[in-house]
C-alpha cells in the first residue's frame, strides 16, 4: 500500500495520516537517533508531535519498563522517568527522562546496545569486533568475539554491528564482515555480512550486505538488511526471509505488537549506498534513498505508516518504542538539567538524623 503523507507543523517531517492514532492504539511513542538529534515521536492530544533533542549520533537504544538506555559512540546514559507516576507536565509530557547515570566508553565506538537480565548493558563494538559490557575503571569489558578473530584489537576485523538479546541474554549478533584483519571488511561489504549465534559461535546466515539491528521477537530473529533495504527474519531452517523491501539504507528496528518500526537513512552523497544492492536498485530507478521511519505489519509485510524526514545527509542509527504518550528527553549536557532535580520529597530529615549511620 502506498501511504499518504501529511506535513507536520513543528518539525521538518511528514507523517502518514493516522500515525498518531496508531501510536495511541499501542500506547507508545518512538525514539530514534539521527545525525545531530535524538527524535522523540509522540502525541499531543490527537496530534503527532516530533520533538528533536540535541544529542548527536545516538545508535543504541533500549527500553526496560520506564527506563531508557541509550548510547552514542563514546557514552552510555541510563535514563529514568523523573515524573511522578500518572502526572503530566504543563507542556503535556507524561514522562521526563533524565540521564541519571553515565558511562564513558570512549573509543570503543558503540553502535548498538541491549539490556540483559541483570540490568547490565551489552554493547556492540564494531571497532573491536566484540560484544562488551561496562566495567568500573575502564572503557569496556569484552564479553564475546567471533571465534575466528585472533585478538581483541581496534581494527574492525569482524565489525559487530548489532546485538540481539533473547530472554535477557545476549544471543545473536550481526557482523559487517567475517575476517581477521586480512582484508578490510569494506572491500567485501556487499556480501561479507553475517548473523552469528553467540551461544554456539555458529554462523546462522552469511553472504549478507551490511546487516544491522538484530532483534528477537515472537521467537524469531529479525534484522535490518541495510544493504538490500529489506527487513528480514530468520526462518526455522536458518534461511533469511525478506519481509519487505524499502527504498532506503535500513538501520534501527523496534517491535510494537505485530508491527516492526524500521529506520532508514538518506545521504547527500551516494557513498552511503554505493556498491550495495540497494544502491544499484535505486540507481536503476534513478531514485535516491528516502529517510525516516516505516511501520511494517510483519504478518503481511505491508507498510502501514510512514514518517518522512526532509533533507538528506542525516543518517538514522537506531529506533526504540517507549511506553509513554510524549516523553521529554534531555541531553546529558543540556542546560535544562540545572532546573530538573528529581528527589524523594517525602524524605523525613528528623527521622534520618536519628538513624544516620555515623560515616
Amino acid at each position: 500500500m502506498s501511504v499518504g503523507l501529511v506535513r507536520l507543523e513543528n518539525f521538518e517531517v511528514e507523517a502518514s495520516e493516522g500515525f498518531a492514532g496508531w501510536l495511541a492504539e499501542h500506547e507508545v511513542s518512538l525514539i530514534f537517533g539521527r545525525a545531530e538529534n535524538l527524535m522523540v515521536v509522540g502525541r499531543h492530544g490527537d496530534e503527532l508531535r516530533v520533538d528533536p533533542v540535541t544529542m548527536p549520533m545516538v545508535g543504541g537504544l533500549a527500553v526496560e519498563g520506564r527506563r531508557l538506555v541509550l548510547s552514542n559512540p563514546y557514552q552510555v546514559w541510563t535514563y529514568d522517568d523523573g515524573l511522578a507516576a500518572g502526572t503530566t507536565t504543563d507542556a503535556g509530557h507524561d514522562a521526563v527522562l533524565l540521564p541519571y547515570r553515565g558511562v564513558v566508553t570512549g573509543g570503543a565506538g558503540i553502535i548498538d546496545i541491549g539490556l540483559l537480565a541483570d540490568g547490565s548493558v551489552v554493547m556492540a563494538s564494531p571497532r573491536f569486533s566484540c560484544l562488551a559490557t561496562t566495567i568500573d575503571g575502564l572503557s569496556f569489558r569484552p564479553l564475546w568475539m567471533p571465534r575466528w578473530v585472533g585478538a581483541l584489537r581496534p581494527e574492525e576485523r569482524s565489525p559487530v554491528s548489532g546485538v540481539g538479546v533473547r530472554d535477557g541474554v545476549a544471543a545473536t549478533v550481526t557482523l559487517f564482515g567475517c575476517g581477521d584483519g586480512e582484508v578490510p571488511w569494506r572491500e567485501g561489504r556487499a556480501t561479507g555480512g553475517a548473523v552469528v549465534d553467540v551461544v554456539t559461535d555458529e554462523v546462522v546466515a552469511n553472504g549478507l550486505a551490511v546487516p544491522t539491528s538484530p532483534r528477537w521477537h515472537d521467537g524469531r530473529l529479525w534484522f535490518t538488511h541495510s544493504g538490500t533495504g529489506e527487513l528480514c527474519v530468520i526462518d526455522d531452517d536458518d534461511s533469511v526471509v525478506p519481509v519487505v523491501g524499502l527504498p532506503t539504507l535500513l538501520r534501527g528496528l523496534a517491535f510494537v505488537g505485530p508491527y516492526a518500526v524500521v529506520g532508514g537513512s538518506a545521504s547527500r552523497s551516494d557513498a552511503l549506498v554505493e556498491g550495495l544492492p540497494i544502491g544499484d536498485q535505486l540507481a536503476e530507478r534513478d531514485a535516491r534513498p528516502e529517510q525516516g521511519l516505516w511501520v511494517v505489519d510483519t504478518r503481511s509485510g505491508e507498510v502501514v505508516h510512514r514518517l518522512a524526514i526532509e533533507g538528506t545527509g542525516r543518517e538514522i542509527h537506531g529506533v526504540v518504542a517507549y511506553p509513554a504518550r510524549r516523553p521529554q528527553v534531555f541531553g546529558p549536557h543540556d542546560d535544562e538539567l540545572q532546573t530538573l532535580v528529581a528527589y524523594d520529597g517525602s524524605w523525613d530529615p528528623d527521622a534520618a538524623r536519628a538513624s544516620f549511620a555515623r560515616p
Partner: protein, 383 residues
Amino acid sequence: MADDEAPQSAGLSLTASPGFAAWLDARDASLTFATPPSKVFFVGVRPDGALGVFERTFDKAMGVAVQGSEHVWLGTRTHLWRMDSVPVGDEAAAEGFDRCFVPLRAHTTGYLNTHDVTVDDDGDVVFVATRFGCLARPSDRVSFEPVWQPPWLERFEQGDRCHLNGYARDGSGRAYVSSVSDTGGMESWRDRRNGGGVIAEVPSGEVVARGFSMPHSPRLRDGELWCCNSGSGNLCRVDPATGEVEEIAFAPGFLRGLCFLDGYAVVGSSRPREGDLYSGLPLDDALAKANLKPRLGLFVIELATGKVVEWLFVDGPMRELFDVAAIPGVKRPMALGLVADDIRTAVFYASASISRDDDSAWRPAVEEPTAEASEVDVAAVAP
C-alpha cells in the same frame, strides 16, 4: 624552578613560590584543585624538578575528593563525575606522567549547588547539596538521595537557607559540617555572613563552634578538627568539646579548600570583589591592615609555626577556588576532560580478558566484573 617561570595555558598563568616544586616533590603527592566556573587543575612535579601543571575544563567544578590514589570525584554544575586512573602512554610516561585520570562515570544530579564532596576508601560518596541544605549521596535513579539535614532547617525543601557548604569525616565516626548560619529563614544566611557561621556535629546537628564569617572546608586530621574561617582569611583549629577556635594562620584571600600533607596545610584562596558575597567581611580590614591584595591560588602553611611557606597563584579570568585535595603517591598526574576529542577516542581495556574455554565469558549475568582488571595486562590505545 625560577620564581617567575609559569606553566602557560590559554588566558591562564600560574606563578609559584621558588620552593613550591621542591616542597611538593618531598611530599610524594600531587594536588588537584577546582576553580569555578570552568577549570580543574592537577599540580605535580616534572622529572627535571619543575612544577608540572595540567588543567581541564569542567562546568562549574567545585568539590574535589580523592579516593585512594585511583579516583578523583568532582562535583560540577549538574553532574558528579568520577575520574578513574588509567595507564599513561609511553610518551607521557617519558615526561614523568605517572597517572592519567579520565572521567568515566557520571551521576546527573541536576543543579544542587554541590559544594564539598567526600569519599571514603570504599567509594561511599557523601556531598553537600547546598541548594537543599542537606548532605546527600548520589543515586542511580533519581538526582540525589538526601541523607542528613541540620536541625535548624524545618523542612526538607529546595532553597538555600543556611548555606550548608562543608562536610568533614574521617572514618572514625566523627563528622562535622560548616554552615554560614544556623538559621532556617529563606536565604537567611546572607544577612549572617559576618560572624553568623557555625561548625556543627553530625548527626546531632549540635553547634560546636560559632562566630565564624562564612566558614568552609571543615576537615579532620589526626582526630583534630580544622576549618577555614573564610571571611577572615584564617585557617583555624577547633576544639569541639569547648568551642574554642584557634587561629593558626592568616593568608591574604577568602580561604576555602583545605587538605593536609605531612605537617602542612594546603589552603585554597579566592579573590573577593567589592560588593560580592565574599566582601564586607573582616577579611577586608585584615587585607587593608596588612596592605595586601587577595590572591587566587594555594597557600602552603606549616602547621607547627602557622607560617605561609609556599604559594601558587593563578592569574586568569576566574576569581574563585573552591577546593583542593592531595593525590598521595602520584608524582605528576594528567587528565582527560570532556571537551577535547580525546574523551571520544581514547579507550582503555583489558586486552586478554576473553577466555574461549570459559563458556560464561559472554554471560554478564553470571560473572561479576573484576575490579582488578585494570591492574593486569592493560592496553591503552591512543586516538
